[in-house]
C-alpha cells in the first residue's frame, strides 16, 4: 500500500492509501515506528484515502498512541476518517482513544 510521511515543525503527517488489514497493517506500523523511534511523538494520521481498516489496523494506531502518550509526550490524532469507517469502529469503541478532526489543517493546527 502507499504510505507517505511529511515532517512539519510541530508534528508529523502520515497518509495511507487503500486497505489496512492484517496483510498491510505492518507497513503502517513501520511508518509510525520510523517517526516515534526518531523521538517524535506528535502525529497526524490522514485517513482520507483509506478505503478499509480492520481491528488489526486500529490496533496499530492504538499501539502507536500508547507510544506517543507515554510520559505525556505526544498524541496521535486522526483526520478525514470517512463516515462508514468511523461508524463501524465506533460500534466496538475502537476510536475512544483518539482526537478526530475533519481535515488535516485543523489536525496539524491542534499541535
Amino acid at each position: 500500500m502507499d504510505i507517505s510521511t511529511k515532517q512539519f515543525r510541530r508534528c508529523d503527517l502520515v497518509k495511507a492509501e487503500g486497505r489496512i488489514d492484517s496483510n498491510t497493517a505492518p507497513e503502517v506500523r513501520d511508518a509510525f515506528e520510523a517517526i516515534t523511534e526518531d523521538g517524535r511523538f506528535r502525529i497526524v494520521f490522514d485517513m482520507s484515502e483509506v478505503t478499509f481498516i480492520s481491528s488489526v489496523g486500529v490496533w496499530v494506531l492504538l499501539e502507536t498512541q500508547k507510544t506517543c502518550k507515554r510520559y505525556n509526550r505526544g498524541d496521535l490524532v486522526i483526520a478525514n476518517v470517512n463516515e462508514k469507517i468511523q461508524h463501524t469502529l465506533d460500534l466496538a469503541g475502537l476510536l475512544t482513544f483518539f482526537r478526530i478532526y475533519d481535515d488535516v489543517l485543523e489536525a496539524v493546527g491542534s499541535f
Binding site: 486497505r19 488489514d21 492484517s22 496483510n23 478499509f52 480492520s54 481491528s55 488489526v56 486500529v58 490496533w59 492504538l62 498512541q65 500508547k66 502518550k69 507515554r70 463516515e83 462508514k84 469507517i85 461508524h87 463501524t88 460500534l91 466496538a92 469503541g93 475502537l94 475512544t96 482513544f97
Partner: protein, 135 residues
C-alpha cells in the same frame, strides 16, 4: 450461490473482500452496511488464520455467500482448531490506554455488525462460521 476457496494467508483478505463484495452487491445494501459486512468477513478470516490455523499457510478458507432478496448468509469453513467464542473476553475500553488490550475486538465487531452469528465444529474436524445480515 457464490462459493470459493482461498489460501489461509493475509494476502487472501483483499480477494475474499472482493468476492463477498460481488455477492452482496446483488442485494443492494446501503454503502455503510455493505462496508460493515466486509469488515465482519475480514475479522472472521483474520481470526481463522491467526487462531484456528495458528498462522499463515496452514490451511484453506472456504467462503460461500447465499443471497436472497433481503438477506445474505455468509459461511466460512476451515479445518483448524475449533473456536469457542465464549472463551474470548470482550475488550474493555474503560481502562487506561497503557493497559488496553485489543484481543477480542474483531469478534465484537462481527457480532455487532451481523444479525446472526453461529460457530460450529463438525465431527469430521471442520469449523463452520455462519453469519447473516438482513437488509
Amino acid at each position: 450461490m457464490y462459493k470459493a476457496t482461498f489460501p489461509g494467508r493475509f494476502k487472501s483478505l483483499a480477494e475474499i473482500s472482493e468476492f463477498v463484495s460481488r455477492a452482496i452487491n446483488e442485494i443492494g445494501f446501503d454503502e455503510t452496511t455493505a462496508y460493515m459486512i466486509l469488515v465482519a468477513v475480514d475479522e472472521a478470516c483474520t481470526n481463522i488464520i491467526e487462531h484456528a490455523y495458528g498462522g499463515e499457510g496452514q490451511g484453506d478458507i472456504q467462503c460461500s455467500c447465499d443471497v436472497t432478496e433481503d438477506l445474505v448468509k455468509i459461511t466460512l469453513r476451515d479445518r483448524g482448531e475449533p473456536f469457542d467464542p465464549t472463551t474470548v473476553p470482550e475488550p474493555d475500553f474503560s481502562v487506561p490506554l497503557q493497559e488496553l488490550n485489543c484481543r477480542g475486538a474483531g469478534l465484537v465487531l462481527i457480532q455487532k455488525i451481523m444479525d446472526e452469528t453461529n460457530f460450529e465444529s463438525t465431527p469430521d474436524g471442520e469449523n463452520v462460521l455462519t453469519m447473516i445480515k438482513r437488509k
